[in-house]
Amino acid sequence: MTFSGREKRQFRALARLFAYRFLDTEIIQARGDISSLFSQLAALLAAFSFVVCAGVVYAYVGRKPPATARWAHEEFLISTTMAVIAVFTLLLWDQLFPDRRDSLILGSLPIRKRTIFCAKVAAIGTALSIAAVSVNSFTGFVFPLFILPTGPDSIGIARCFAAYWFVMALASAFAFFTLLGVQGIAIHVLPHARFQRWSGFIQCAAFFAVLTLYFLTPPLATPQAFADPGNSLWYAVLPSYWFLGLFQVLKGSPDAIFAALARRAVAGGAAVTVFAGACFLLSYARQMRRTVEQYGIVPRRVGALRRLADRVARLVSPRSGEHAMLAFIGRTLARSRQHRSLIAMYAGLGLAYVFGGIAGVIYSPHSYKAVERSRAAIGIPLLLLSFLIVGIRVSFSIPMEVRANWLFRMTDPFGSGAYLSAARKALLLFAVVPVVAISAAIYGAMWPWWKAIAHVGFIAAIGLLLVEVALWDWNKVPFTCTYLPGKANLKVMFAVYWGLLWFLSQFVIIIEDRALKTAAGYAVLMAITLAAWLRVAYLASAARAEFSGLRFEEEPEPAVRTLGIFAGE
């Protein structure tokens, strides 16, 4: 296959366009500068690699852990790389296959399909390579030095380095092709309209599956675990162990179990690559034309679920303007992939934190005390709730078609207070109510009824408090105000979020655990929490009284800040 000069120019232009579109969202943006976009992402992943690398140096310098102990570290690095690539692939979900826009715009231009295909492959390959290299940028050069199977001779070092990077590349490709295959099946099997509707849900389900797999994979990289025949099913289904086996084989291990795992890694990798590659290729041969042929209007029926949701919204918000806004918030959250992905990301972080705690309790070699198990159980809904509230509140700030906000500017949601009431009810309905309902079912089945009711009551009270904190300085209609990427002081926000997380996971949970032991203690805890809620609600209301109206334009930080010590400043 040879490219003419024109095709080469088209390829370069398209590869650049596709690569830019991967990251050019309302959430990540660098004022149109593609190199800045990629360097920001690479820096983020490299920072993670540096932290892990520091841990490696601390664990290995001056010490010589046994070879078997290094297996766990190797498995951690492999599974982390796979998880990062998987999450990154899920973020690019809508850009992987040619969409309707590609088909309609590029289809009418004098461009061969193979040029579009090659440009897309090049763009995806570049983006994923940057992610894979960045996440191993420090560990990939330091870790192999500590795990040399033989002495520090140049051949041994070169072999260890080559094995490390080869395995990481293969594991990354495996993670990417697996998800590409999942979308490939859906895109080819489902009718176009149905795929459009389900794609977002498949993306969210895959996201939670990746997080669950990453955090709840049992730690089986020990000689004892390898020797136990009861673990054979785990090794058969957990890909990170396949690539651990491959790594050991490439380093020169003669162990038969590693050879079996390595064979599985090669076979599995080849299978998903061939399958996903075929789906991808077929999508260009078939899907682009099929997409154009589809009737542009996606039919939709008003189902029972939507009627029920409408009825609930009308019950919760009988006032006309407030109901309109609550329905608008609900529909935007349900239908906007961007907002859904953002909330899934926050919920995923919450799950990661919770799963980390659960894994610590389940897989710890030392038997955890009952009190620690109890606290881990208490903490799950509280942590998830806080991540969910923060995620939904952040998503409110990301606009949905800013130019359509004239509708809200032509009416008066500020004067009637409908904007605030709807935002509050949305947070309660979409974050607090589901967590409380699910908690009630689970704790009701696990604990004595009085303890379950008490705990669920406390979760609801904390939910009310967090919702008021989240809406402290809120004077916007959700999804209608312009967004300035980078305006939020990430360092400060990071500290605030981690402070809140620490407060919840270390302080509130311990206090609740103690309070649940006596009726008096619980009554005091609830009284303090509800009083805090009322106080915060009162203060927030006083702060909001100073607003003169709704904000539809985010204002940049002033170039010069005054100290505010003179009147009128």
Binding site: V298, A324, M410
Partner: protein
């Protein structure tokens, strides 16, 4: 009665409107014309309260609209130049949102939405997302949303954009009926044939200034020109269109 009084709007480096004054009377369709960049959409945005003027004021029923902007906004229906709608909502949902934000009673609102969508031939696609609509369909949604609350003052910025012939004929007739029922209608458009058929008087804007403000018949008599197109060409066109077309054709050939 809508009165625009010495309206001025300056943007950094340019004056979009320079002391623009005119009156739109109830029972009339007032045409608001001008070439691209003449300041029509800026005037319309100020009239709807989306932009603030640098100077001058707008009076509705003798009172400055800024005195009670919310009450004024409740009385207007607006079709913007660009069909900016929420693409993830369906037509029915968008109209419901619009109606509820204007505090229309829900039973009446639903009946009205159903009837309007049927009459605008959107009944079959009422529950499909607006993102999949054609430009004409989006325009029909905007027009329905503007008229849903039976406004006293209707401000239309290029309302016929993308509409099919049947819809144009229906809407043209509708405008005459709305005007006859006593509504004040401001109609901004580039389609001069339609303006000539629908409007009783026109305001022509050029480089941010009013260059004509009279009934179409009087303008024809005053300027001794047979059509609105020729009147417009004389007042608001700087270059000879044929000469410009010739130059473009030569550039294409190069």
């Amino acid at each position: 009665m809508l009165e625009v009084r010495a309206l001025t709007k300056r943007f950094p480096g340019t004056t979009a409107l320079d002391r623009v004054s005119f009156i739109a009377m109830p029972g009339e369709v007032t045409g608001y014309l001008g070439p691209n960049g003449s300041g029509k959409s800026t005037t319309v945005k100020i009239m709807t309260g989306l932009l603030d003027p640098t100077d001058g004021e707008i009076l509705y029923c003798g009172r400055p609209i800024r005195e009670n902007l919310i009450e004024y906004k409740a009385r207007i229906g607006y079709v913007p130049e660009e069909p900016f709608l929420y693409p993830h909502l369906s037509a029915a949902e968008y109209l419901e949102l619009s109606g509820e934000l204007r505090d229309l009673p829900s039973g009446k609102l639903r009946a009205k939405i159903g009837a309007l969508l049927e009459l605008f031939s959107l009944g079959d696609d009422r529950d499909a997302p607006i993102s999949s609509y054609s430009k004409g369909m989006r325009q029909k949604v905007l027009i329905s949303a503007a008229l849903l609350h039976d406004p006293e003052l209707v401000i239309l910025d290029e309302p016929f954009s993308g509409l099919d012939v049947h819809a144009v004929l229906v809407f043209r007739s509708l405008l005459r009926r709305l005007a006859a029922s006593g509504k004040t209608i401001l109609f901004s458009s580039h389609v001069l044939e339609v303006v000539e058929k629908v409007c009783s008087r026109v305001v022509i804007l050029h480089k941010g200034q009013v260059v004509a403000n009279d009934s179409i018949d009087r303008l024809r008599d005053l300027m001794a020109l047979p059509t609105l197109e020729e009147i417009f060409s004389q007042l608001a066109t700087e270059r000879d269109p044929d000469a410009t077309a010739l130059e473009i054709a030569e550039v294409i050939r190069q």
